[in-house]
Symmetry: C2
Subunit: 140 residues, 2 copies
Amino acid sequence: MAMAAQVLGDRWTLLIIRELFYGVGCFEDIRADLEIPSATLQKRLNALSDAGILMRKTYRAPGERNRQGYVLTETGKALAPVVLALRQWGDDTLRDDSPLTDLIDLRTGKPLRLAIIDSDGKEVDLASAHLKKREGQSDD
Amino acid sequence: MAMAAQVLGDRWTLLIIRELFYGVGCFEDIRADLEIPSATLQKRLNALSDAGILMRKTYRAPGERNRQGYVLTETGKALAPVVLALRQWGDDTLRDDSPLTDLIDLRTGKPLRLAIIDSDGKEVDLASAHLKKREGQSDD
DNA sequence: CCCATAACTTCATTTTTTGAAGTCAGGTTT
DNA sequence: AAACCTGACTTCAAAAAATGAAGTTATGGG
């Protein structure tokens, strides 16, 4: 996890990744949405690309010129729970009236959320979940 | 979520919080475990305390002198899914042989994991979960 | 009283971030 | 085709933050 914190651990990276989940995939749009300095955005995109989290991919929207697109790789898409957890936390701690129905099942249209489940697929309360310190190889 | 990234977004913060989940609660132990410079640790602890994520609490282990302890507040404990998600991602992307059985149910002892569930409590595949851009008040 | 140690502080140096102002190449407009 | 736009970067100097090493200070034990 220390490596994860290394790659993702800064003020912008997870927000950039969230943009990509939203489908915002080009430099200008990300920059404008987040109001991030372009030099910083550039560095982050390079770092994320080096880390195998996103890929560059030129594309062309109808009636527009070519653009440099950024898309999440499989590794990058696997970050969805991190983004979701962070969002859920942000919502829970900052607002108490959050509808939070903007994570949906593509098939059924039902709202979704993160949960901790046991091996039977039953949800378990946060309070009874215990995080043990890993004894194996350290990742710090 | 931008605020969350603001508070948690740096190389150390989430690792510190993980230490607290593990039950490591004093300055020296955190410093030694993570090998973080003490000035940096100090700043992070202050920031997390200001953000209401942890609290200082003096304690005394049997046969030892008083120590400054750090414990997660409710807000801090609510970060468990973030830590779990990050750990799960780190495991999945960096190792392929991870047992990942160190999150357990305190009551039953069963191994636990994060999942995305729908309103019926049924687990949903990551690929069919869609994150919509929130239209309401922006948090950026 | 002296010593060891935990919990910080200070400080000089390096690294990173930032904001503003460029490049540069591809299209589009005229 | 010449001039113009705009998206995707670069450059640069100033400001802010992180680092490593070397202090402090307070507390309790011998």
